[in-house]
């Protein structure tokens, strides 16, 4: 239950960190908040030969609005994302999701970049970033790549980042004016990883027709799932309980979630449907449409 020995590096600039990643090769692991990497090292599930601590790099954690794009530095702590006024006001989905990310002690230290790099199949953040159509900015010593969530998340604990690449920033485009959002999850205890979680962003017009819909899931497979079919079905239809129920059914009918000690595959799929209905009803309710 103690981590195995490693060589510790604490670069003071991003360029230095990227050089170290290139020079030390795949035996090196970047250390962000450490809330997933350190327990895995304590269990000796991973044994990096080199640890590159990113915590000494100044200005690597920030939340700033640059014209109509929100830029979040990879080393921004969960707590800072959770309490950011601009995020609460303009990306309330993300602010709501943060309350479900582990516990307050983890959110003090954990980072958005670390969580998105870890890519746990039950993590809330990938589903949120997908629902918000975020962009993940990767940098290496030789260049920069901008990836969409479906390009970046490859599978359980696997992303498209090469060993010498680092996730440095998350960008969120502005949502259309007047959208509302909701997130909810089922977990055995508060702060546990979700058994299933669902994120949605919606907008209705004056006659209660849905004009904008996003619907994403976590915990239902190797990576987050975005229900494009259900989103297309919703747009142009009246926001009624039967339409929401049909969208939730469409979104989840083809899912084949994993079974584990916490929940069977069938339970996960059915729960996903129920939670999807609930979050859609809540988000649509915020539009002043009662369903």
């Amino acid at each position: 239950m103690k981590p195995p020995p490693f060589e510790y590096y604490a670069p003071s600039t991003l360029d230095e960190a990227l050089r170290l990643l290139r020079d030390l090769g795949p035996d090196a692991r970047p250390l962000a908040g450490g809330q997933s990497l350190v327990p895995m090292m304590n269990f000796r599930l991973v044994r990096p030969r080199y640890v590159i601590d990113l915590n000494r790099i100044p200005n690597f954690g920030y939340v700033r609005l640059n014209s109509d794009v929100l830029q979040i530095g990879a080393m921004t702590r969960h707590r800072e994302v959770e309490h950011s006024e601009v995020i609460k006001n303009q990306w309330p989905l993300l602010a709501e999701v943060m309350k479900h990310v582990a516990h307050v002690q983890i959110r003090s230290r954990g980072t958005i970049g670390g969580s998105l790099s870890h890519a746990d199949p039950s993590a809330e953040l990938p589903a949120a970033i997908a629902a918000l159509e975020g962009t993940l900015i990767l940098r290496s010593h030789s260049g920069t790549r901008r990836l969409r969530p479906h390009e970046y998340f490859m599978g359980a604990l696997t992303t498209a980042a090469e060993p010498d690449e680092l996730l440095v920033e998350i960008q969120l485009p502005t949502l259309p004016a007047g959208t509302s959002a909701a997130f909810d999850e089922l977990s055995r205890r508060r702060g546990d990883f979700a058994i299933v979680g669902v994120a949605t962003v919606v907008k209705c017009n004056a006659v209660a027709e849905i004009t904008f819909a996003r619907l994403t899931f976590t915990g239902v497979g190797e990576k987050y799932f975005r229900a494009h079919d259900a989103e297309e079905y919703l747009v142009g239809r009246k926001a009624t309980s039967s339409v929401i129920a049909e969208a939730a059914r469409m979104a989840t009918s083809t899912l084949d979630p994993p079974s584990d000690i916490h929940a069977s595959s069938n339970y996960r799929r059915q729960t996903a449907e129920v939670v999807a209905e609930r979050v859609m009803a809540r988000a649509i309710g915020q539009q002043g449409v009662m369903v």
């Binding site: 450490g34 090292m41 640890v51 601590d53 003090s108 230290r109």
Partner: protein, 159 residues
């Protein structure tokens, strides 16, 4: 050969200088190198919350950081709570008054979590206290008296 790194850490207002291996966990440094045994080590993978300390005023799991990362940081542990040898902090007093601990193993971490909560929320709701304590496991008390103690301490500290 094992490489040791020199670190300087402020704990409860006192400055400590040590040499640590890169892999030295912060909780083990606090206990074994500094000799402050009030910070308890339970699960060592960030689930139980017994090792919670304040790091620059934020509650963190000291089993999920390396001591070397705290070089230059200001830490606060349960030993810093009581204002004097014969006087308890209002949180500690409330815990004894309403029997909010039994074996006491989880108590230091819970006190640190509640201290952080009460610093920025002088009058927390029952829900806020529960939310804050969701990251601390207690196997004796059933949490009810811990909640009562937190509310009592908040009332007394507001007076």
């Amino acid at each position: 050969m094992t490489i040791r790194h020199a670190i300087t850490v402020e704990i409860n207002g006192r400055t400590f200088q040590s040499e640590v291996e890169g892999r030295r966990l912060l909780c083990d440094y606090i206990r074994e190198d500094v000799g402050l045994y009030g910070t308890h080590v339970g699960c060592e993978h960030g689930v139980c919350g017994a090792c919670t300390i304040l790091w620059d005023d934020q509650p963190v799991r000291s089993c999920l950081a390396f001591a070397i990362q705290a070089d230059g940081a200001k830490l606060f542990t349960v030993e810093g709570l009581a204002p004097a040898a014969n006087e308890l902090h209002p949180l500690q007093q409330a815990f004894t008054d309403v029997h909010a601990l039994q074996c006491g193993f989880c108590t230091p971490g819970i006190l640190m979590t509640l201290l952080a909560l009460l610093k920025h929320n002088k009058n927390p709701t029952s829900d806020a206290i529960r939310e804050s304590l969701s990251g601390n496991l207690c196997r004796c008390t059933g949490y009810h008296n811990i909640l009562t103690a937190a509310q009592l301490a908040a009332e007394r500290m507001a007076d």
